[in-house]
């Protein structure tokens, strides 16, 4: 399945609704099938990457575990929208996924247009 270039567009913040989590689960499952998607965190989706998340008291698992699994599944092209970070006052050093480089993009439209398939979460 490697022939098809796929992008997962992640636009939701973590915890408030299930889309962030279910999106990452779909991404990991696709990668396990050798359809390795790239990821673009946009809008409130950039909040998924914020460090210091501790959701134990709201009885949820940390989403950062799912993010840390990305490189283990061969997902290494991870983009974050620079404009979305600025709008939310988030600096580059607040967003890291261990073991993988998160690359800032400015022209998200050009990035998206280059893929065969885009998943929206």
């Amino acid at each position: 399945m490697e022939g098809k270039s796929t992008l997962a567009l992640c636009r939701q913040p973590p915890y408030g609704n299930a889309l962030a989590r279910e999106g990452l689960e779909a991404v990991l499952a696709a990668a396990a099938m050798d359809l390795v998607p790239d990821l673009l965190f946009l809008s409130d989706g950039v909040f998924q990457l914020l460090d210091n998340q501790s959701p134990a008291e709201i009885h949820q698992k940390s989403l950062q575990r799912n993010l840390q699994a990305l490189p283990m599944f061969g997902i290494e092209q991870i983009f974050v929208c620079g404009r979305s970070l600025i709008e939310r006052g988030i600096s580059a050093d607040q967003i890291t996924i261990p073991g993988v480089e998160v690359r800032q993009v400015q022209d998200t439209g050009k990035l998206i247009a280059a893929y065969d398939t885009v998943l929206s979460f």
Binding site: L7, L9, R11, Q12, L19, L42, S43, R83, D107, T108, G109, K110, I112, A113, Y115, D116, T117, V118, S120
Partner: protein, 93 residues
């Protein structure tokens, strides 16, 4: 050339704004469901002339008039738009 499908009201949700911020040359925009409320505003005019479509059934359901510069389409044309563009990106939340 991406087909962007927006289905939420631009007053309640940032889907349209974010979509327009990621518009690339040659992209087109289709407004469906509550996305047709964008036609009561001028935000969609940020998209290049001739690149904006809306589902006529969704506009009529809501009593929203379709401006001259926007093409109201039926389901058949919707499918056709999807065959002519790729990828297809849904902005639904």
């Amino acid at each position: 050339m991406t087909l962007h499908i927006v289905s939420k009201s631009p007053y309640g949700c940032n889907a349209l704004t974010e979509c327009l911020a990621t518009f690339a040359e040659g992209d087109v925009l289709l407004l469906i469901e509550d996305g047709v409320y964008a036609l009561t505003d001028h935000k969609w005019e940020a998209a290049p002339a001739g690149s904006v479509y809306c589902l006529r059934a969704d506009a009529e359901a809501r009593g929203i008039a379709i401006p001259e510069k926007v093409e109201g389409i039926d389901d058949t044309r919707w499918v056709e738009l999807c065959t002519r563009h790729n990828p297809i990106v849904s902005w639904y939340k």
